[in-house]
Symmetry: C2
Subunit: 122 residues, 2 copies
DNA sequence: TATATCGATATACTTTAGTATACTAGCAAT
DNA sequence: ATTGCTAGTATACTAAAGTATATCGATATA
């Protein structure tokens, strides 16, 4: 990689465009109907495919498979295959994936204060 | 309102379903192609419709109008009409909207650490 | 009279996201 | 031989999100 495209937190905060781009990176990782339920399901323990499917009752295997692939590609989830019979596949959050809980906590906090602040004002 | 559906931060953190639902509230407010650019454009100053449109060069008036309505309905943005000629309409973030910057900062921080942690690992 | 500005809206379209339903391979137990 | 388990895939569809392009009404200016 020739070009130095790493920018600092300060720089990103100061430049609206860089700011939006960098925040978007995070947003893209967690956007979509099933990403949060899946991440939530893996936050405290590793799980197997069918296991996740059971915790998220309405997801189809097609979507679960697709979303897990997305998360894996984005470095959020690690996939491990065990050569048992029948085969078992374990999914777990990466270190970076676990760190996302800091972001989710902030989102939870804001979401709840926002609900408070907005009650009855519609 | 008869039913007491207000839950505490602690309760929400402890219950995966409540957690996902509450975080989703926040996510829904900022999801979509143009929400972040618009919020970014309003973070430091009030702006008029055409003004926002100029700062986000590729947005169509249809999308800008729709997204601003969404943001207004969600209590993120306040819209003020001035009876000048031609008419002027000013958009600004609400208090709650400004507080969202705490969340965005965390997202920025995580996004940048995640990029560091993931470099070359694909 | 024609043209421009502001803050949009109308109609028709394409693209992306998500759903429904059925199916696969490999092996074990009944 | 049939059934069930695992972790998915295949095909066809509907719904939601976003784009393109033209137009509006009220007023001001050239």
């Amino acid at each position: 990689m020739e070009i130095e495209n790493v920018i600092s937190f300060k720089e990103a905060k100061a430049c609206p465009i860089q700011f939006v781009l960098a925040v978007n990176d995070t947003l893209n990782v967690i956007s979509g109907k099933w990403k949060l339920p899946i991440i939530g399901s893996l936050l405290f323990e590793k799980r197997r495919f069918t296991d996740i499917q059971r915790t998220i009752s309405k997801i189809t295997p097609r979507m679960l498979s697709k979303e897990l692939k997305d998360l894996e590609m984005n470095g959020m989830v690690k996939r491990t295959v065990y050569d048992t019979t029948p085969i078992t596949v374990e999914y777990e959050l990466t270190e970076s994936g676990k760190l996302l809980s800091d972001v989710l906590d902030k989102m939870l906090e804001w979401g709840m204060q926002h609900r408070e602040a907005t009650i009855g004002k519609n």
